[in-house]
Symmetry: C2
Subunit: 411 residues, 2 copies
């Protein structure tokens, strides 16, 4: 993570001004209809969480057709292929550029793409299908311009970025898959805006906490412990916690349910609880506070009312965990990516978010999440859209290409 030796602005300026880069961008432009066609093809293959396989297989074939080597699907369902560098010749370490295959939309969602002027609309089209097609366009552009990189580049279409997937694809890539321990830098291409550089990975931990008790008739069994009273005390105590504003740390009691009828003391009630922090340490601290509060709430309920029919207990099930992390502003990947944004006429903006880059960030591996093009909106909504106006989109796409080439070292 040492700062690069050469002046990064100069390095990137030289790269962007090179005839090869101009040829590559010209190819992005010349090939643009194909990129749009790929976006549509991939968007119209549904890829709900945990059901990305069909789209993954299609993308695998596309990676093969683009001449990458070692094209494969790993055990988690990620698909990937290598564009070997001149220095490491496919032996690694690898610079990864990834886009996620999954969408938030359940099976049965109509994913037919509609066109309205310069807008394409369909669930998942911007988040993150456009990026999948953009990665392919990069391969074609580099090939057309005869660009070789020093380092090996691994192109990845990964599973499990969205909510319930809990970053399982990238987690596998770094912790278990064939590239474990062999990745030196990581880009996730996710979102639209080419100015946004996510270098802070907001960590999160999510629980479903179920409080259980003996239950009974509301009148006949009055006086026995009630799991809803224990849950209420827990929420009340949690909402007295004041987490730090910096690093930003938050929580939310978000979803609740339980009980069977108004005239019954419930057997079970639950709440879902979300915690996030820019700091792994603060997140861990909040997590400990939560567990302490849950313990105390249950003990307090068992002390306050009769346990003759049984006690109240709780079970806290982790339903999501995204490690916090950050890539320093001074890291080579950060410096070069900011320089690429600037060199192409944009104003870089550092962002905090929870993305696939959280995983490498939490492992201390240089990682950023960057935008795939130009404009888009309504992510996670049925009327999700992207703007495909050619000139600004190709310009936006060129940012990622410049950052990738700068980090992988254009030869």
């Amino acid at each position: 993570m040492a700062a690069p030796k050469a002046d990064p602005a100069k390095t990137v300026g030289k790269l962007v001004a090179s005839p090869a880069f101009k040829t590559a961008v010209a190819k992005l432009d010349a090939d643009y209809d194909r990129t749009v066609a790929d976006i549509i093809t991939l968007t119209e293959i549904p890829a709900p969480p945990f059901k990305e396989e069909k789209r993954a297989k299609a993308y695998l074939e596309m990676l093969k057709a683009h001449g990458l080597t070692n094209v494969e699907m790993d055990a988690e369902g990620n698909v990937m292929g290598v564009r070997p560098g001149t220095a490491t010749k496919g032996a690694g370490p690898f610079v990864v550029i990834a886009a996620h295959l999954d969408t938030v939309f359940p099976e049965g969602t109509d994913v037919k793409v509609r066109r309205e002027g310069a807008k394409l609309m369909a669930p998942g089209i911007g988040d993150d299908t456009r990026a999948l097609a953009t990665l392919l366009a990069y391969v074609r552009a580099m090939d057309a311009a005869g660009i070789k990189t020093k380092k090996d580049i691994l192109f990845v279409g990964n599973v499990g970025e969205e909510g319930p997937g809990d970053l399982r694809g990238v987690r596998h890539l770094f912790n278990k898959g064939p590239y474990k321990g062999r990745i030196s830098a990581f880009f996730s291409m996710d979102g639209a805006n080419p100015e946004h550089i996510v270098d802070q990975g907001t960590g999160s931990k999510r629980y479903r906490v179920t409080f259980s008790g003996p239950g009974g008739h509301s009148y006949g069994a009055f006086g026995i412990v009630n799991p809803m009273a224990a849950m209420a005390k827990a929420v009340t105590d949690l909402y007295a916690v004041e987490p730090p504003k910096k690093p930003k740390t938050t929580y939310s009691a978000s979803v609740t349910g339980g009980g069977t009828s108004v005239n019954s003391i419930p057997h079970d009630v639950f709440m879902e609880f979300d915690m996030r922090s820019e700091s792994a340490a603060e997140l861990a601290k909040l997590d400990q506070t939560l567990i302490g509060i849950l313990d105390k709430a249950v003990a307090s309920e068992n002390a306050a009312r009769s346990t003759r029919a049984g006690v109240v207990t709780y079970q806290a099930k982790v339903i999501g965990e995204r490690p916090a992390g950050a890539t320093p502003e001074t890291a080579e990947i950060s410096v070069l990516t900011q320089a690429a944004v600037t060199a192409l006429g944009y104003k870089p903006s550092r962002e905090a978010s929870s993305t696939d880059a959280n995983i490498p960030m939490s492992l201390g591996i240089p990682a950023l999440t960057i935008g795939a093009g130009f404009l888009g909106g309504r992510a996670h909504a049925l009327d999700e859209w992207i703007d495909i106006e050619k000139a600004p989109t190709v310009k936006g796409m060129s940012v990622g290409l410049a950052a990738l080439l700068a980090v992988a070292g254009a030869d």
Copy 2:
């Protein structure tokens, strides 16, 4: 409600020992197969809450066939008919004996009666269909024995006793129907055990309380008010309330729900809250305490967190209200009914429950709920059953007949 002039034990002893009463009981016995057939016929006509009409119409025809006068269905759906007395000749006031038409079971429940030895099993068969058939058996028995009563008797099959019905049938009978202000004593026949005399009507009030707020992203909008925090404070404060043990007063936070996703501060959450008391005054006091706690919980949440996106509010919707009441142990109806239980060889047991008799009790009209026969169980369950062994059942049935005749004054 003055005590009767004559010694009630003597009066009832004389009644039970009379040849006419013996003839009537002999008719209950001789006619028993018909009573069982009526139980089966009525049980197999589904009568979910608010959908009692088909069964009500069938019962109306049965009341007509039994020679009652002024047989009618009132505006609420209760069906009824008069057996005029010798003194009042149908002009009233009336002694009412009622059984409820409704069951707790939803539409589509299989209500086919199965027989296992001396047991008949079907949803609703004991609660309260057997009592409907028992009322008809009483008419036949009185007719067979030539028994006239001094007072008019109104036989009623009423709607809306179970949970969501909230006693709407009997409420209408006393507050709006054609017999409003004309009922001097009320029996509800509900339950099996001939020893049980419900003379205390547990009152209840039930709320669905919805807490609403602006909602927002769990991370982005952290710091704004959360309706779940307000609800938790309300439940916590409610569970610090210690209601009196005598008169027994209870509460229960029973059902909860709300929220859409773990990463969203919820817009709406709700809880259902049940309150009961043997005392109308204590119930009203608890109700006031609840409202105070809800007000305070919402105010406290709006003070504790930002209301920049909106405030938290609550709406408390009454989803059930059964007035508390009691019939004094010294009331004529109580004294005579206890004497009838004793005269027939049982040991009377005074009970508190929430039944159709709550309504007249709350109005100061002498009222009891009594059993319809012998054994039964699993009320409100799909395997509900009654025991129809003839001898003990006929004996159990004779208790209600004796009580009714004692109160209506056998001529």
